[in-house]
């Protein structure tokens, strides 16, 4: 037992080291990409008219403030050293420290992504399991057809459709923004916040449910064709009992793992959905930063999102590490 625990810890440390190296890689890649940008940060952040009116001395001063004459590698190291210490720079777009912007937006985003993540996980699991049990019969056909169609639907278009139905036609739910217009932040009740969360969360859940459903269905099919299910049938076990005792237990772990490793996709989806609903989260901030060439904010969001993805993958690995006896006993996995 002690040896097994040691193996799990060793496995985890290895994975964490790998994640840290990858994270450094992501930051270098992101930094290289924004440095390639032909858009002059000085000009973008002062405005073209102000830039043209500036004296050459002032321009040189601004250039050195932005570190334009330093080589890219040195600029990266300066940025990374500050970043690790928690100084993420100033956001030009919001005119506040990046760390502050991120912590505010991250709360909104995590509420949205968390809700969609849980809903789509549960719904996708149930639908996928049902479809897998009823292979090629009506429930399977309906669920599979729906999931395939939903997987092909652009998430932002789905959001527009939902707005048309629920906000414009039926007038049940508000349009966008996470608080009503003209109300200060402190007066907003929890009910209002939830009302503004429903449609974005629904859109994000629906697009992700399709994915989970199709995966779970495939796993369910594999298991229903397995030898142990055949043997259970031969012993005289029937329908629901087989599903309960043999199938569900075996698809639960892959489903949970898939759920944790799908963080990247839900983050990507939230960028589009937040934009449609003008929901003030990280995705919208990333778009603002990208359009407005707000370099420090864009870099910070990239690193944050990668961190989120790696945490998800790490948890998925951890779950496998605990549940899979091969890893527990120190053999490498796959």
């Amino acid at each position: 037992m002690a040896e097994e625990a040691a193996n799990v810890i060793r496995f985890l440390l290895k994975k964490m080291l790998k994640a840290a190296v990858l994270l450094a890689g992501v930051s270098i890649l992101a930094f290289a990409l924004v440095s390639l940008s032909p858009i002059d940060p000085v000009r973008a952040n002062t405005g073209t008219t102000a830039y043209l009116r500036m004296s050459p001395e002032k321009r040189a001063q601004m250039d050195s403030y932005w570190g334009k004459e330093l080589p890219a590698a040195e600029r990266y190291l300066n940025w990374a050293a500050d970043f690790v210490r928690g100084d993420m720079g100033m956001s030009q777009k919001y005119n506040r420290p990046v760390a502050e912007v991120i912590s505010e937006k991250a709360g909104n985003s995590l509420a949205l992504m968390g809700t969609a993540w849980v809903c789509s996980g549960i719904l996708g699991f149930i639908l996928g399991a049902v479809a897998g049990c009823f292979r090629d019969r009506r429930p399977d056909k309906v669920i599979r057809g729906g999931a395939l169609l939903l997987a092909a639907t652009p998430s932002f278009w789905l959001a527009l459709l939902l707005i048309m139905v629920f906000s414009v036609w039926l007038r049940w739910l508000p349009f966008g923004m996470n608080i009503p217009i003209g109300v200060s932040h402190s007066e907003v009740g929890i009910a209002d916040r939830i009302a503004h969360l429903i449609l974005p969360a629904l859109t994000l859940s629906l697009t992700k449910t399709a994915d989970i459903t199709l995966h779970t269905r495939q796993k369910m099919l594999d298991i229903m064709e397995s030898d142990y299910v055949l043997f259970a049938r031969a012993r005289g076990e029937r329908g629901s009992r087989i599903v309960r005792r043999h199938a569900l237990r075996n698809i639960l772990l892959p489903a949970i793992t898939l759920q944790f490793s799908s963080v990247s996709r839900i983050f990507g989806g939230s960028v589009l959905v937040e934009q449609v609903f003008s929901y003030p989260g990280l995705g919208q901030a990333a778009v603002d930063a990208g359009l407005g060439s707000d370099v420090s904010l864009l870099l910070a969001i990239t690193v944050f999102s990668a961190l989120l993805v790696f945490t998800g993958n790490l948890i998925a690995d951890l779950l496998y590490g605990i549940a899979d006896p091969q890893i527990r006993r120190g053999r490498s996995h796959g």
């Binding site: 858009i39 652009p154 932002f156 527009l160 414009v168 990507g268 995705g283 990239t302």
Partner: protein, 288 residues
Amino acid sequence: MADRKRKYGRAVFADDPGDQRKRTVFPVPAVLLFAAVVVAGMLLRESAMETDFVRKNLPPCAGHLFGTDRMGRDMLARTLAGLSYSILLGLLSSAVSAGIALFLAFLSSLGKAADAAVTWLTDLMMGVPHMILLVLISCAMGKGFAGVAAGVALTHWPGLCRLLRAEILQQTESLWAGIARKLGKSRWYIARTHFLPHLLPQLLVGLTLQFPHAVLHEAGITFLGFGLPPDEPAIGIILSESMAYLSTGKWWLALFPGLALMLTVVFFERMGNALRAAVNPSEVHLVK
């Protein structure tokens, strides 16, 4: 019991060649349809930009099947033009992505260090949410059409690359590759004559299945405002423009263009799956 009988029945009759051929033939009408859309879209590009304030904000009618927008532009022409742009960009980017995937997969077969590097790069690309990556690349290229094209073309290889790498790994272990090595054939010779023929079907299927992703990402990033200038017809731009008119009940501005995009994606996905069934029959016939 009846259920099981049907399942075994299916497994046997899946060998029916008629069935298989039908699956493969399916793409032909679809391909013709989409070729027609691409050509029509290119021809309609001019009329898609044409404004006529006499006929503005018309709901769908006989003269304008998809209605018109606030500047009297015909939405059918705009949708077709946007769709043709999406399809062409999608094809280009799946081809480029397939090329990158193939190149990196071969690179990884050259040695341990190369393999580690390729795997690391794949993990790196998969670690950043796709939309964020597209925003970054678009920034690097200074936005506009080039940014979207580069972003979509350069980011769709990791999944396919993993697949091809695994396939090559398997091929390296094969008997014939071993014999060829013993006969003193060069790596390049083995890769070309022994690996490539095995990879081509996978590559073709991967390319087709990559297309829907590419199209959806292109529409998404354009929707966010990183792509073409706002008066050009592209599905993403049309949809983002329609947002301002939703509250006044102009549903046709958003419904039809989005529907057209969705149908395109569905068609290509089915085509990819049919192709997979055709080149990889064992997977279809297996009772899974």
